[in-house]
Amino acid sequence: MLYYSLKRLGLAVAIVSVAMLLLFTMIYLIPGDPAAVALGPRATEAMREALRIKMGLDQPVWIQFWNFFVNAWQGDLGNEVLSDRPVAKVVMEQLPATLALIAGGMVWSVALGIPLGCWTAVKRGGMADRIVGVFSVAVIAVPSFVVAIYALLIFAVTLRWLPAIGAGEPGDLGDQLVHLILPSLAVGIGWVGYIARLVRASMLEVLEASHIRTARAFGLPDRQVTYRYALTIAILPTVTLLGVGIGQMLSSAVFAEIVFARPGVGKLVYDAILTRNYPLVTGAVLVTTVLFILINLIADLVVGYLDPRVRSRL
């Protein structure tokens, strides 16, 4: 297990390095002068040049990349261009809102997806199975921003049950949860379909396994056979999928944060790209990449722990 963990960790570091190298290459291929965009029309050429130097844009790209990595390794992601605030602080201010959004989306997808998957596996071939099958494909196919807009129009604008914008008052957990319902539904609804389909398929496979048949032959109750013996095995692919799902939800979070005017890392990166605020883009992307890889790493380790066959494959 230790060897497996070290290998996964090494792979994670390599992925972060490659991702950041790609990001650096891409942002320097994007046209547009960050200093001109940041300072606006009234800045003089001297002011723009001073800002370019301050941002390190007068250095070759490989030196900028090297400096960024050395500093990032020491926990210094640089300072934000305009307000001069530390990038790490700016990102960390926004991260809890995004994590809450993803956690909310995950709750929706797990809380609905797993029971639906189990239920349809047990009811295989019946009307409920077919209806849930159509529903699953539908929610997978509909983009999250469409769900977001319709949910907002129905529950916030028409019914006025839930707020349309914001993330709730800091320190008021109830208010924050109320503000989380619609955005997290928008982020998580597509994954209800994925998880329901996956759990159903895994369950069908496991329910046909010999040990399940044996358990039934011994007269164990169906509920116990389904949840204790079948689901614990059928859930393994879902754990791996959830790791990937978090990455997907991070990208969906951008739409939810814009549509619901919520703070968050996705919107932060989006705004930073538009204003060519490179230190903020690189810092925020580094944090989210590390976060994504960390979550996948944990998911892989959990699966490896639960299933010895996975450990032996790597």
């Binding site: 029309p41 800045a43 907002l152 349309a164 914008i165 005017a261 538009l274 204003t275």
Partner: protein, 516 residues
């Protein structure tokens, strides 16, 4: 053996319980208290230093927390209103006398506002060492002379007409504490020191909310609300939905939503349409072929049906503009010198042997611009010019014509929009020869235009200024580099329970909002 784990009944019961729980949660509405005003801003704050502000919303917050000498007057006529001064008057062309109100204090123990603070704050703007992007606001400043504790004289190097329209009533007249700023030793970013305005910055939640609270020590006309919550929302559609859901008291709307909102306003709300000062035009780069030929440029001027473009892009809400100066300003025109005449356009193209022309039109990736560009594309196709539309994000778009890059010598047609302040010089300055390759992307280079611009800065007679600025726009027409489209319109929606403080062009003045 019972097989059902979840019955239909139990599923429906669970769903029903969830729905009921959702409804039972108390709905938190920011705006129903009546002492809290919730408004939308199109950007979050980043810099609270008057000399380094980045956006209009920041300027409005700055004016609310650092008392300015004067602010723009709310209403439909451009003017100013005294805030920190008891009196202020122009003694002659180059001298302005002021006397401060006697009891304006700075927070954080920095004492009372004095004429020394005024001298420090204004001279700081103009100081070349400060490198303020707004140094031009005080470019005519010679010095501020302190007469006594509360009085002083602002001496100018030369007559400067925009002083009363686009310098004093902006954040350029905000007064900072000299002592506090010297102690700080750098520009103010997001943590203000020594606030002095009608409101104080109580809290800033990045990307979420800025809270202004009424200044308890402000002894003069108070702000209209206990608190103002400013929510940064870039997308106007999101803001409209936020308003309709009851989360906002005031927001701009997108122009495309105006007809719908006017026809069917949400209950308890007022939809307002204000004339904008901004100007939108189709620019033609005179240094890039085929537009280095003036007759080809004129062909484009005659090919574009301006009315059709504006109607399609703004859903009939905006009217056609005839220059860079909006109605009400000196130099505003009733017509341009070219008309929509596709036959004339075809004849000019034929005369120049320009058949099968293919050109590019760069635009910002916004729906209104795309619609306008598509109509222009159709108009040009009608006279035999094939036009490819190139959409750009804002970061790319605003550098397209820069001489520092290399795209300016490929840029052919560009659909642009500039915002404005209520003095014509704010519009004309961008088209002077010095601005070629900076913000003058048409590369229009006319010495007479430049001379007229300088003349306009020192001419205070309205009729003479009107003549100067009309002549300048005539030169722009004549160059063939411009097809003027519109000044747009500003859509606003607010609750009936508030009376918004607004400049004539609809820009908000937070400190002037009142309860109805």
């Amino acid at each position: 053996m019972k097989q059902n784990i979840m019955t239909r009944r139990s599923f429906l019961a669970a769903a029903g319980a969830f729905g009921a729980a959702t409804m039972a949660v108390p709905r938190f509405a920011l705006s129903q208290d009546g002492t809290v005003l919730t408004v939308r801003s199109y950007s979050d704050l980043q810099v609270l230093d008057p000399a380094f502000r980045l956006s209009n919303p920041e300027g409005d917050i700055i004016r609310s927390i650092f008392a300015p000498l004067v602010i723009p007057q709310a209403g439909d006529v451009w003017g100013w209103k005294a805030i920190a001064v008891d009196s202020i008057e122009q003694l002659d062309d180059v001298t302005v006398a002021f006397t401060l109100k006697d009891n304006i204090g700075f927070t954080d123990g920095y004492g009372q506002m004095t004429a020394e603070d005024v001298k420090f704050s204004i001279e700081r703007f103009a100081d070349p060492a400060m490198e303020s992007p707004y140094a031009g606001d005080w470019s005519a400043l010679k010095e501020v002379e302190v007469k006594d504790r509360l009085s002083g004289l602002i001496h100018l190097k030369n007559k400067f007409v925009p002083l009363w329209t686009t310098t004093l009533p902006t954040a350029a007249s905000c007064i900072l504490s000299k002592r506090a700023m010297e102690e700080l030793g750098e520009k103010i970013t997001t943590k203000p020191v020594a606030q002095s305005g009608q409101y104080l910055l109580a809290d800033w939640q990045p990307k979420q909310k800025t809270i202004l609270r009424r200044n308890p020590d402000w002894a003069h006309e108070p702000g209209g609300f206990d608190e103002i919550h400013i929510i940064p929302i870039e997308d106007p559609a999101t803001a409209e939905r936020g308003f309709e859901a009851g989360d906002l008291d005031y927001t701009w709307t997108s122009v495309s939503s105006l007809p719908r909102l006017k026809a069917n306003p949400p209950e308890g709300s007022v939809v307002v349409e204000k004339p904008s000062l901004a100007y939108v035009w189709l620019g033609i780069n005179q240094d890039v072929a085929p537009f280095d030929n003036p007759n080809i440029r004129r062909a484009v001027q005659h090919a574009v049906n301006r009315e059709e473009v504006v109607d399609a892009a703004y859903f009939g809400a905006a009217s056609v503009g005839n220059g860079i100066l909006a109605p009400g300003l000196p130099g505003s025109r009733d017509a341009v010198t070219y008309d929509y005449d596709p036959d004339k356009a075809r004849a000019l193209l034929e005369q120049e042997g320009a058949t099968d022309l293919s050109v590019t039109l760069d635009i910002l990736n916004q729906s209104e611009r795309l619609t306008a560009a598509q109509v222009i594309q159709a108009n040009l196709a009608d006279v035999g010019i094939s036009c490819e539309i190139k959409q750009n994000d804002s970061g790319t778009f605003w550098t397209l014509g820069s001489k520092d890059g290399d795209y300016w010598n490929k840029l052919q047609l560009v659909l642009s929009r500039y915002s404005m302040q209520p003095d014509p010089s704010w519009a004309t300055v961008w088209f002077t020869p010095e601005q070629v390759g900076v913000w003058n992307w048409e590369r229009f280079n006319n010495a007479e235009y430049k001379a007229l611009h300088e003349q306009g800065l020192v001419e205070s007679d309205f009729a003479k200024r009107d003549e100067i600025y009309k002549k300048m726009q005539g030169l722009m027409d004549e160059s063939g580099c411009y097809v003027f489209l519109t000044h747009e319109v500003v859509g606003i929606i607010h609750r009936e329970s508030i009376v918004p403080g607004q400049k004539p062009n609809g820009e908000p003045l937070l400190s002037e909002f009142r309860k109805a």
